[in-house]
């Protein structure tokens, strides 16, 4: 397999802290590689080094087996593009945003117009050309950023947490677009995520990162099987828990994740397991209510994080669960820090890895 890009013994330090620690990594042409790891594990730094926006403190970067240096940096950068975690749009119309990279490449006006309209169609923003980019919703802005990267048709596309802070509908749309770009245009994709579910389903390979190192790399199935080795560190991943599983009579499993904290999952499992629950699968309520959900846990809100359309909450039920609700629900429910709430989710939403 041909590596499209390669990092050899790359270390990156900022003011004494090591963000990347002796990382060697080959990106295979045509793959989707997910970088999975908790916040601060070095995913963003790795992407910035691959995007040739950041020079490693030590080590080398290769692009199609050519070493990147000062002489060919700007030319090499044309082969790759990064979509930032925090959407950064130019204060201009959607059209000018998406056309930016094509203008820089001195493409013909007609060709630019054609490509921009195709890219906007791909991200389902047809007819948005003349709208001011910064006046769009968060999800739409993220899609403009994605279109602006896709339109360049670079051989390597880098995505930094592309669905973080997005509602499930926009997140699913972005995942679909990414998969399509990979299948139809054969674009090689490297994507940072701390979403287990995303890392399990979308990519060809997964690289587990921790403390600036790549600990494990391989197919999702193989990597998650080996996960137990680094389980402790992955508890830092959102809604990923470990515990002891016991099979029940009704073909379900009860996992004990803490003192008096049990979670019911479907299927039969025994012994130590790791599972993940997508934050959007969790229902939040102020009072206990009857439902078909097998898991109803009482806890307190310990953290409130406001993003564009969503509010992310941490609910401590013995273990911290991340829950996301719309801004509207948040204000309707009149929630505040330390409030007593119930979280509910189906046994089938518990994904045992």
């Amino acid at each position: 397999m041909n590596p499209i890009a390669e990092l050899r013994d790359v270390t990156k330090t900022f003011d004494g802290t090591t963000a990347l620690n002796d990382v060697s990594l080959k990106i295979v042409e045509g793959e989707i590689l997910a970088l999975l790891g908790p916040n601060g594990s070095g995913k963003s730094t790795l992407l910035r080094v691959l995007a040739l926006l950041m020079e490693p403190t030590k080590g080398e970067t290769y692009f199609r087996n050519i070493k990147v240096d000062g002489g060919n940096l700007e030319q090499m950068r044309m082969e790759t593009t990064l979509v930032f975690q925090k959407t950064t749009l130019f204060s201009a119309r959607v059209y000018d945003n998406v056309a930016y990279g094509l203008n820089v490449r001195k493409m013909q006006k007609d060709e630019i117009a054609d490509r921009v309209s195709r890219a906007l169609k791909l991200v389902k923003l047809e007819g948005f050309e003349r709208r001011h980019a910064k006046r769009l919703s968060g999800g739409e802005q993220q899609r403009v950023a994605l279109a602006r990267a896709l339109v360049l048709n670079t051989s390597l596309l880098l995505l930094d947490e592309p669905t973080v802070n997005l509602d499930p509908k926009n997140a699913a749309m972005i995942e679909e677009i990414v998969a399509k770009a990979n299948q139809e245009n054969k674009t090689t994709i490297v994507m940072a995520t701390h979403n287990m579910f995303q890392a399990k389903n979308l990519p060809t390979r997964v690289a587990l990162m921790e403390n600036g190192r790549v600990n494990e790399i391989g197919t999702p199935a193989a990597t998650f099987n080996k996960l137990s080795k680094t389980l402790a560190s992955f508890a830092a991943l959102e809604n990923t828990f470990t515990g002891n599983a016991a099979t029940m009579e009704d073909d379900t499993t009860v996992v004990e994740i803490g003192v008096n904290t049990r979670v019911v999952a479907t299927g039969q499992h025994q012994g130590p397991v790791t599972f993940f629950i997508s934050p959007e699968d969790i229902i939040l309520s102020k009072a206990r209510f009857d439902s078909s959900a097998r898991n109803i846990l009482k806890g307190r809100i310990t953290e409130i994080q406001d993003s564009d359309a969503l509010v992310k909450l941490k609910v401590d039920v013995g273990k911290p669960f991340a829950v996301q609700i719309t801004k509207r629900s948040f204000s309707d429910m009149n929630l505040n820090l330390d409030a007593e709430v119930y979280i509910a989710f189906k046994a089938s939403s518990v994904q045992i890895i």
Partner: protein
């Protein structure tokens, strides 16, 4: 009271009758301040881009000097320029003293700190990720810098307008190096000052109305423009 009303009425008559002297002084003021702003912009923006985008050790000293020069007394600067441009001075051989060119140079120097300070602040206010964003889309170092300048454009225009307003409203430099020579270096501020002393109140009022109107209209236009951009 009557005197003031009388002066006001006559002033409006002067303005609306299209008095040739009023027109001439107004146009010269616009030309001199406009040219000074243009020159200050041409050398001020590149300085602002370096101060706003690059990190170097002496940066804070340069920014400090600029801030300190914001409030420079115009008479003081006028005197220094006068000494430079007078026949005995080091630049005397150019023969620029008491010419519109001398006022343009003087005002350009006067407003450079304004344009540099305000434009630097506007550039520094641009999301620092814009440079990286431009680069990852393929922009070269200089193309990325131009993109940042475009993002800061509202602030840069504001800097230009503030500079123009300062130039057209200042008296010291225009008086000291221009000399208020009728038909040659008379501008709005110097004419208001000198005509008042001569007791020519209606002309003074007419010119002052024009000066204030210009400054207000420009400021309001900028405000409206900025609001619409948001």
């Amino acid at each position: 009271m009557n005197e003031i009303m009388d002066g006001l009425i006559k002033a409006f008559q002067l303005i609306f009758s299209g008095d040739p002297r009023v027109i001439e002084i107004t146009l010269r003021s616009l030309y001199v301040s406009g040219a000074a702003t243009l020159i200050a912009t041409l050398w001020g923006i590149p300085i602002a881009m370096v101060l706003g985008l690059r990190n170097f050790r002496t940066k804070f000293i340069l920014k400090g000097i600029c801030h300190a020069l914001l409030g420079i007394p115009t008479v003081g600067l006028g005197l220094i320029l006068y000494l430079f441009l007078s026949k005995a001075g080091p630049a005397g051989f150019f023969g620029l003293l008491y010419t519109p060119t001398a006022i343009i140079i003087g005002e350009a120097i006067l407003i450079t700190p304004i344009i540099v300070s305000l434009a630097t602040a506007a550039i520094e206010n641009v999301d620092p990720e814009i440079v990286n964003q431009a680069k990852t889309l393929g922009a070269s170092e200089s193309q990325a810098s131009v993109t940042v300048l475009k993002e800061a454009m509202a602030g840069v225009i504001l800097a230009g307008i503030a500079s123009f307003n300062r130039a057209i409203a200042e008296l010291g430099v225009a008086q000291m190096v221009g000399g208020n020579i009728a038909g040659s270096t008379e501008v709005l501020t110097t004419a208001v000052s000198n005509e008042t002393q001569r007791g020519n109140i209606e002309l003074s009022i007419a010119l002052a109305i024009i000066l204030l109107t210009l400054v207000f209209v420009i400021s309001i236009t900028v405000n409206v423009y900025q609001r619409r951009r948001k």
